[in-house]
Amino acid sequence: MEPKKNIDGMDLVYSRPDTLIDTATHYCPGCGHGVAHRVIMEVIKEMNIQEQTIGVAPVGCSVFAYHYMNVDMQEAAHGRATAVATGIKRVLPDKFVYTYQGDGDLAAIGTSETIHTVNRGENILIVFVNNGVYGMTGGQMAPTTLPGMKTTTSPFGREILTMGHPLNITSLIAGLPGALFVTRQSVHTPAAVRKFKKAVRQSFEYQKLNKGTCFVEVVSNCPSGWKMTPVESNKWMEQNMFPMYPPGDLKLPPPGLN
């Protein structure tokens, strides 16, 4: 869809990119997924790579990502998105391939696939949306759930002694030689959205170089799972999630790359 001009004598300067399907999403009000989807699709539009891009959707809240992202997509089994992406990229090495996964998918059931995919240096982008709960199934404890955090399966708060520690998988990923670019971002403020967009853009640019995996975490909110308003959840995220998962770059490509 081309941007309409001159609505009531004004220029439309911001509109939906045609890489994003014009439909209502199933995401809860205030959730970060919608913004993250849009940013990825904006980058694909701006780089003019829609015809060369294949996405992989996970199991979790973003299981229906292919309803919204107007690129060829595959829906993977729970946790297997990066294995599916490996299969695609290996037979279509000149295409852009990305996965879009949540914390349960990527950091619990898919831990093995995630680590080995990055360790092989598969030339793909992994977008990891971390909100500390299993949203789709109703707010259960995730590997990234914070100590003391109440979920439907940690009803009295996550007890480290019996339920284990939160998994900072992005730090693990940053230690792997196959990782080219590892960064942690968020999408809860305009400034954060701009940084996330820059990271996604860089990742797709790096993919042209065939130098390894790009991994972009988005620390996000889950108003429904956390039982908060969107505004409260974003505040809670800054106060509680950021100390455990601080935004910033964890691994940068070697200087002079590009």
Binding site: Y66, D72, M73, Q74, A77, T86, G87, I88, V91, K95
Partner: protein, 360 residues
């Protein structure tokens, strides 16, 4: 079966290597594997010969990852193969269910070993149910081919890819450790003997003139999910015409042995031994295990006296033979388990017991 493709001069090869070489000759784009005895030669052979002939060969971190790489590559329109042995095939059942539901073509070989559990590395046929009845969750079937020679290990790679692509369904070569490890003379397929097309449904980047392609097995509306199931069932019905069996000395047979794969080779010997002793024995060898050659067995049930099913398991295919015979004749079973290969002599004892009346 369409086995009229051109083949090279005879050469001597292991069954596992013949499968691997046939796959390269038929233009396999990708292979994703994981080591497990007794099929690791496939991955080893392909790592030497595959990349320089333009095929992607990747050793995955697990069978779980490997089958999902197959899903991705098959969804991207590539001709893809995976092989493993029994415990590894169990790990792939989730992926196979997704591949069957998403209607992706791929070729899977199970070089069976004895189970259950970690079991043994000796040959067995105890994964028949898993291969033929679905294996993973949901109502789906694999098309299952049962080779009984190294020649068929090679031939069924060509036939397997043909069936997989024609029906958009995973095809399994159900073989065993003996056929995988044994060396025999084989005439391999000529390079490029199976035409290749880029499927219109593949995810290779959304062209401007079409809607985006989506590979998925998620159909959340029950009405849609039932529709997909109906499509699958109609496809399996269509595939019935591919059912194939070989018969040996059945015309005048009073007792007909039924066996597939390695067991059928032993039973061919049993038939000859029984005939030397005056027992009119014959053999039916199902070549496709799904679709099952029910008609061949039903027709012979009209004229023979009884059946003896011989398997290297506790009695799995015997259920399908009984369904085909439908109570018309007695159906007995002789099996060895746990990686034991039955001898012709011990099967002959069973044939004689059934056919020679005990002296009063």
């Amino acid at each position: 079966m369409k086995l009229d493709f051109p083949r090279s001069e005879p050469t001597l090869m292991k069954g596992n290597e013949a499968m691997a070489e046939a796959a390269l000759r038929v233009g396999m784009d990708g292979y994703f594997g994981y080591p497990i005895t007794p099929q690791s030669e496939v991955l080893e052979y392909l790592m030497i010969h595959g990349p320089k002939r333009g095929s992607v060969i990747l050793q995955a971190e697990s069978e779980v990852a490997a089958i999902n790489m197959v899903y991705g590559a098959a969804g991207a329109g590539a001709r893809v193969m995976i092989t493993s042995s029994s415990p590894g095939i169990s790990l792939m059942q989730e992926g196979l269910s997704y591949i069957a539901s998403a209607q992706l073509p791929c070729l899977v070989a199970n070089v069976q070993r004895g189970g259950p559990g970690l079991g043994t590395i000796q040959p067995a046929q105890s994964d028949y149910f898993q291969a033929v009845k679905g294996g993973g969750h949901g109502d789906y079937r694999l098309i299952v081919l049962a080779p009984s020679s190294v020649q068929e290990m090679s031939d069924f790679v060509v036939e397997g890819f043909r069936l997989a692509e024609e029906y958009r369904n995973p095809v399994m070569i159900l073989t065993d450790g003996a056929l995988g490890q044994m060396m025999e003379s084989v005439q391999l397929p000529e390079q490029g003997c199976l035409a290749k097309h880029v499927p219109s449904w593949a995810t290779r980047g959304k062209a401007p003139d079409r809607e985006r392609n989506i590979i998925t097995s998620l159909f959340i509306q029950p009405e849609k999910m039932e529709q997909i199931n109906l499509e699958l069932q109609a496809k399996y019905q269509r595939a019935q015409k591919e059912a194939a069996a070989e018969t040996f000395r059945t015309d005048d047979a009073e007792i007909v042995l039924v066996a597939f794969g390695l067991a059928s080779r032993i039973c061919q010997k049993v038939v000859d031994l029984a005939r030397e002793r005056g027992i009119a024995a014959g053999l039916i060898r199902p070549i496709t295990l799904f679709p099952y050659p029910t008609d061949v067995i039903a027709a012979i049930a009209e004229r023979t006296q009884r059946f003896l099913v011989v398997e290297m398991n506790a009695g799995q295919m015997v259920e399908d033979v009984r369904l085909a015979v439908n109570g018309k004749r007695p159906v007995d079973f002789k099996g060895r388990m746990g990686g034991i290969i039955p001898t012709p002599e011990e099967i002959l004892v069973e044939v004689e017991r059934l056919m020679v009346p005990a002296e009063v």
